[in-house]
Subunit: 244 residues, 2 copies
DNA sequence: GATGGCTATAAAATCGATTATTTGCCAGAT
DNA sequence: ATCTGGCAAATAATCGATTTTATAGCCATC
């Protein structure tokens, strides 16, 4: 059904198998996924409402662009929202939450960050564990609206995180960072926990902002000739064998 | 095109012409709006991603339910997000922003709250002016992500606000409330401005929470016979001549 | 008399074709 | 030689029909 297509395309976008700015040709996607045009169109519409895809009337869909300005805005906003969630979670702390958080951390700490044979791409499994940890961290927050907003921002960040991996030459002890945040949260030290979380998020953004990739691949500084620069359908659409 | 249908259905939901929980039959909507099935389906999908419509697999779409718990959560979340926006707007204050805010307030203050002949429904025009004022208040915030989140929550609140009007027997000086918030913002008193804004939002929620309507019409206490109660296609769909 | 299965009806999901729009290209004119 | 106008190919948007699925009513059996 259309839900499957929706998730498949979203996963491709989040994992950067479909590059930012790439043109999304409905017919090509339909043939590749072996479904009808309408189904793809519906999935693209939903993605558009979630902000992962942009649609221009009568001109089709493309993957939402990335830019340094967007990453900066996204990161600062995310810090504020995640902090709100984390403070509430700490205030409503209970044993079940602590247990889940410890379990999520343990799973994350023992999952290899990259695929054994592919040193450049993030492992899908690690991404899942990472998401589960951060979700466990804030899941004590009872507000479903706040968690929903957080989820939107987390999803957007996922694209940048995947983009940043080939650039991440700095060595960084992610396990220690996550452990420090968790320890502060369990110790009910909201100030310290939110400060560590903010630094954690800022670090990721900073690494990407100093990397050259974002400067030459970005959105639209002047706005014209976008298709020319990235050559989306030629390179992105053909190089990725999809369905994975 | 599908964009028009999307906006039409969204306006019907926000104005409560389509009641919360009402079943949205695709065929009926398609015939009424004189478009195809696929177009309606796509519009409903986008609404679903925005949270105004819920979809159950193989069981169609219905208008997102309302409940006292959801209103409480929505209000507290909205207070936090709007406060973040307002603080940033005040920090980045400039003359252009002040001018726009004053203009928006003046328009709002001189727009009648209800239709002259219909004392029970909110005037569409007043709703537009009210939205414009609140948008002007926070538009000094440069973060497009934060403003986007705020927009989502504002839209959700709109439904409750329209629902609350037939109940609003308490007399309330909305013009004075808005003026007080504006004055504090222009005076760069962020603490006072956010406090007044919070009280403003809480007041609206409080009025609705004490009213009986939400208690008997709410989401799904037990979950059955929901279509029976509101008879959506019979009353709501037929009484409004669409296109408005 | 009640319960369980079966059938009929209605609605939702999917599909392939048709129509309209845009874009790139070629030819002709200045 | 270059610019402009039209033409053709590609692609997005819309539509109506078909297929699958859920629900409700009915009959048979226990």
């Amino acid at each position: 059904m259309t839900e499957t297509i929706f998730r498949t395309i979203r996963a491709d976008i989040l994992a950067c198998r479909l590059l930012p700015g790439a043109k999304l040709k409905i017919a090509a996607l339909a043939q590749r996924l072996d479904v009808s045009l309408g189904a793809v169109r519906e999935a693209l519409s939903r993605l558009s409402a979630e902000g992962l895809v942009v649609s221009e009337t009568q001109r089709g869909f493309r993957v939402a662009p990335v830019s340094a300005a967007d990453l900066t805005d996204l990161t600062t906003t995310r810090i504020e929202i995640e902090s709100l969630c984390l403070r509430r979670a700490i205030a409503a702390q209970d044993v079940a939450w602590e247990a889940e958080l410890l379990a999520a951390f343990h799973r994350l700490a023992h999952t290899p960050e990259r695929e054994p044979n592919d040193a450049v791409r993030l492992a899908d499994n690690w991404s899942r564990m990472h998401e589960a940890f951060h979700l466990a961290l804030v899941s004590g927050c009872k507000s479903s609206w706040l968690l929903r907003l957080r989820g939107t921002l987390y999803m957007q960040s996922e694209r940048y995180r995947r983009l940043s991996i080939p650039v991440a030459r700095v060595d960084r002890d992610l396990v220690a960072e996550h452990r420090a945040i968790m320890d502060a949260a369990i110790a009910r030290d909201a100030e310290r926990a939110t400060a560590l979380l903010a630094e954690h998020l800022l670090m990721t953004a900073r690494i990407l902002l100093t990397a050259p990739e974002l400067k030459e691949d970005p959105d639209s500084p002047s706005g014209e000739e976008r298709g020319r620069r990235v050559r989306p359908q030629g390179s992105a659409a053909e190089k990725e064998p999809a369905s994975a």
